[in-house]
Assembly symmetry: D2
Homo-oligomer: 434 residues x 4
């Protein structure tokens, strides 16, 4: 990631109100001028000092002593977009609880089914109260529903203005954050006083400047069960192969981490480390000859070089569609060993919906609560066009446009991937002489 850029946050305007939490005792207000260093290493620091540049850092999230919005009159809305992820309900609950109890906000709308809930013909928004949300963190999914796609930005801003919404909390992935950035731009062009604050959702854990996505630990724990099941199935049959497809369109974090947690995988395939199908089949032949069973974990975005992009076409959002590596491997492995005259007994497990729809585990519950609380503090202070990041254990403010051109991937030379390779014993590159 590029740490040279600025991480300064856009504001709606002056802060004319006292933060009401000031009356609750030992409020821990955040110093607006403090920065959390992006790069906490001595080498980077010495470089900065030598070159005379000030090291870049993130603004810290948390309550501000003076805030922009009158908390008793503010009207907030929450929208959840894209695919499900553990913890969505926890985030919704956390935003409502914080707005209601600590800022005294009494008007909170839940937009139904993503940005489309702000479009024409949308079902009416839901009124959110502490009573409505008090137990929703015990259920998976999102009580608001979600969807992909979005009406035009102008329509969205019309809807926000038309409903007198002061603050929009958007929970979603990078596409959602791009949409939010466009909303903020349009809001500014129209001279409106509407804040847009994002909470990054990415079960793939691939949003830059966010070290850990909410729901990721829960997802890994559930995904791990499938890797364990794959081993049971693989060992349960002669020449048994357990194949698990896990989430990860562009980043293999879930596959790599779930395999590490299970501790029993023999091969992990991730988008960041390409391979040839023939090399995989060769590896599997050797493995079955030696050990009679194999456990393979594949991220859904792995092995895309095995497909012809032309035939795959584009998905609903206009992106290059992914080839289905899970069923490709399943079918090719079966065919290959049948042709060899040494059939393999392959069991294919795709637990994606079970992983996505699980309620947040205790760690994620607390994490979602922290994210939600940070987002509310930022919004009330008049911050806009930003999302809540997580860095060195602290909640931070990240400008939405900072995501542009940045990606977060498993580093094939880093500790995580090296740990996977040590754990599985798999070679640096399939097909390389052992």
């Amino acid at each position: 990631m590029n740490f040279r850029q600025s991480f300064e946050i856009d504001h709606l305007g002056p802060c004319r109100h006292d933060n009401p939490i000031a009356t609750e005792g030992n409020a821990h207000f955040i110093d607006e001028d403090e920065r959390l260093l992006c790069d906490p290493y001595l080498s980077g620091l010495e470089e900065a000092v030598e070159s005379g540049t000030r090291p870049v850092g993130f603004e810290l999230a948390g309550p501000r002593r003076r805030i922009h919005f009158d908390p008793t009159r503010v009207r907030a809305a929450i929208v959840t977009c894209g695919g499900l992820s553990p913890g969505l309900n926890s985030v919704i609950r956390g935003i409502v609880m914080q707005l209601w109890y600590h800022y005294g906000c009494r008007e909170i709308l839940g937009i139904r089914y993503g940005y489309n809930g702000l479009g024409p013909d949308a079902p009416p928004a839901v009124t959110l109260t502490p009573e409505r949300v008090s137990n929703i963190h015990l259920e998976g999914g999102t009580i608001l529903g979600s969807s992909r796609g979005t009406p035009p930005t102008a329509t969205l801003v019309d809807a926000l203005a038309g409903r007198d919404i002061d603050v929009l909390f958007t929970v979603g992935g990078d596409g959602t954050m791009r949409g939010a950035a466009a909303i903020q731009q349009e809001v500014r062009n129209r001279g409106l006083d509407i804040g847009v604050v994002g909470i990054p959702k990415t079960i793939d854990n691939d949003i830059p400047y966010v070290r850990r996505a909410f729901g990721f630990e829960t997802a890994v724990a559930i995904a791990m069960q499938s890797v364990r099941a794959a081993e049971v199935e693989a060992k349960g049959a002669p020449r048994g192969v357990g194949l698990v497809k896990l989430m990860g369109r562009h980043a293999g974090f879930i596959a790599a981490t779930a395999a590490l947690a299970a501790g029993n995988a023999n091969l992990v395939l991730i988008p960041e480390v390409p391979f040839e199908l023939d090399d995989l089949l060769g590896w599997l032949e050797a493995r079955l000859a030696r050990k009679d069973h194999a456990v393979i974990v594949a991220a859904e975005g792995a092995g895309q070089n095995c497909f012809d992009p032309e035939t795959l076409g584009r998905d609903a959002s206009g992106n290059q569609a992914l080839g289905d590596i899970g069923t490709l491997l399943r079918d090719r492995i079966k065919t290959h060993f049948t042709e060899l005259g040494q059939p393999a007994v392959l069991k294919y497990i795709d637990p994606s919906y079970l992983v996505r729809s699980t309620p947040a585990n205790p760690t994620d519950q607390i994490f979602c609560d922290r994210l939600a609380r940070a987002a509310v503090h930022a919004a009330m202070a008049g911050k806009t066009g930003m999302l809540i990041g997580y860095w060195h254990g602290r909640m931070t403010h990240v400008p939405m446009q900072a995501l542009e051109g940045q990606t977060r991937r498993v580093n094939p030379q880093g500790e995580l991937w090296y740990a996977v390779r040590e754990n599985t014993g798999q070679p640096e590159r399939l097909g390389a002489p052992a």
Copy 2:
């Protein structure tokens, strides 16, 4: 089921040895002449008394005071066949523990990969001891491995005789029990003193005279999680449909019971209750119009009338292959609503391998232990050609040939299916006017 037949059990021969557990204090030996009534209702009884017939009943399982085999010299073997089911390892463990500690048997072989492990080129059998098996019930699957198919009966009996095996414990489904019956016949024809005792395994819960199959409760508990996940997914999207395929080739017990436990399904499809695809699509149209989401649970053997048996062909065992109702419904529902211009967002969940590979829950662990103990007592007493049944809460002896021509199915006029219909609100017959 037909209760007119006899349930008398075949014996290998005289019982010349004292049961060694007699020395362990209050041994609870079973009376060979007692019978557990198959039909425990007054009406059946009065009918029997009137017609002067003696009501049929099962022999009770349990230790006999006198036994056929010399326990210190007996050589036992265990084989697990067919698909995985929760509790296989618990059964293996229970047999070994009972043989070792209570009969003093010191030679226990574990046959690898089903009946094929008695065939030519099979991997060597494993020596089983208490130390080897003490913690295996905490893992899913079977430490012996399993497989479908079998060498010819003569080969199997050659292998048993060649390895001096006195008692074979076979754990498997109805095909496995048919194989065991054939082995016993061949053993008798050759005049050998080898016992064959079966422990019925059927994750579908469809073996006659066995009220509850081991692993079934565990399977239902895991399957239920997928039904709950389907609801989360269905409610998470506009016009969301959660579709779960569960085991059940000929009997819908898992689908019906998991749906009842989840308490949130809107439609359950089982093999015993046929339906037309068009009626299902009509029902779903109405449901989505009224409620905007739907949860459908389908047993894998449901809706076979929607397929052409000719095109499906035969499976490895020579049986009519099943059409894949899960993917058929998935594809047809998507197409139908897209053509209608009102797309549905369908999420398809097939948790089969996760369900099969789970370790036994506490209830099943105890149940497997009871089955195993009963099987060992029966085998040591010289009973053969029989399996352990479960009836009115007691372990029983059932002759293998009694399974012939019998089936166990969900009764569409019985309490279970009626409970499902009350729970889902689904009509008696899809397509009937509401």
Copy 3:
């Protein structure tokens, strides 16, 4: 148990209404004249035939074609009494759902905090609807609250009559059922048309004619985790002793069953099998010398002979109070080995409240639903002074007065206790020469 008595059920009066579920398709109405044999063994049957007596049996639970109450005008109340047990909310939910959807009943009251909720100064009853109860089975405990003790019977009947309650569903243990029988007697004396139907709750599993109490399997599963934890603690220290106290005032079912499920206990102590403290200490000395660790599971009612009943006094309900065997063993074991100069490292685990407060597992959820449905059918048909039993896998009707003088205990000569002894290797009697 004494099966000579009659199990005939009291009725409120004539059945003048059609059962509304008759219109729902294949209703499975129960024949009032059928009986489920209490004793399903051939020997008992032959004895009955010889002596010319008709074998006793239970009435079967289930819907009747004609019912006593006008379903659209009936007013029902539910009360939960005594200690918590997994499944209370499932039972409440099941009663409400069945009354509402299948009988069309629209007035359902939830009495707060047990029978005391019908007394003076009680908090107002709660209105129960499907919406209110739809997800309560996912939470432990009872949404109505519970308590011990009760106002005088006359007060209770005044309250029922004063609130126009037609049917009272009481969920509780044997004390609660005695209270319900007294209510029914008083109702009859006053010539009122009020039915009283019980659902037996006993986490100890000790109510006669009820083979399995709701919540018992869930309780065993949670209790088992403590037994496993005790082993981890015992093996984690030199001369480690893990001691677990489980529920079971007069019957050791939970202790015996949880120990069986865990499969790692070395000694199980239950009320039905007395022991001397010195014999236990002697056994433990030998065990630690041989194996260096020990796992002991004690039911709370075990070892009462070690206490002086005079000093214990009476509990709130006037029964003989129990001595606390858990802390007695903890303290005596510590002291004994310290005095011996060979200290033991004892870890004491009492998981009672964790066990009681767990939500029902899938099996218990279904079981509670069956109980609730059976209770509603019975009440609507005008049955009264009865509870729902469970026998040979069927729901039955049991007159409340049939419980008098009957107990349900672990049989020290039966299969369960023998299985425990085989599993632990413990002697028939502590102190007996090995």
Copy 4:
């Protein structure tokens, strides 16, 4: 914490061997000169630059290109000390796997029952191999056993030298680390070439320079279940109070975090925030009057001002013994409300042994593996007298003597405690006017 001190690490001597993992492809060797800044904030940095001091930082853990020990001849030992914590077996497994597969070490000893296992009359050490440890992470506790207390340092070093041990891995708390520092000192005094590397274990999460202790997340998840159970019990009775005692002798991290995760506590008591018993009783009176139930979570070290230190005496290690705040609160609350004439129904839950003995959850499993791998790399490189820390998401090296005089506590003005207060609504100080 004091960041002014140096964090330089002691070395045994020159590194004359190539690291064998260099041949495994993309090894990610760590630069010995890099430092991770302790304080990653711009303010601290500017202060350092102004004052001309170099900011302090930690050495990074990870593989070194050149190592001190000949990996094929090194002899390692592992010892686990103090109380159980989730993940001990995962750490043992990780050390063995890393030593065996990546350094080729073939002599690994497991010392039994803590430092006492190096004393006279100790049971023999266990030989550790990949086969022995491959599944131990699925079980709680430590396969080596543990204990408190230690023989004299000279005895320990005699034992290490006498058994030709080159590297000792000690897993334990701050007492264990002090013992390890003494061992290292004695080793140096004797001029021996023995390395001592610590892996900090603290279920209380209170070791300085270690942001997160292994097992802490697992412990919180289990502890949370008790907090949820306490709510079920509290709501299940009139004037119900659920009281949970959790670990935390000097630091309330588990109590605070478990309460946050449960989201239902009304009062959290931690050692860092003193209170008077009368104020607590007054708070509870008001709470019960208003809400009829209360959930209280107390760390075991909370409220020590309520005890007389004289009467408490000293514990086995010579430290001031703690008063038992759990039973004190239980008894005082019961007495107080009985005296008031308004009895409370208090349910007291102490889940400590259940929390400690749980196996590591997936997140902790991975974390333990990282710690273990870092410890092996450090030891092979000849680092000694150090432990593995965790800071800003990286594994670090921390000199054992740096722990002296440092503590890690919940900051009553920090984000965690503020989140607890927002969540519970409890006042800054009990007894303060509301």
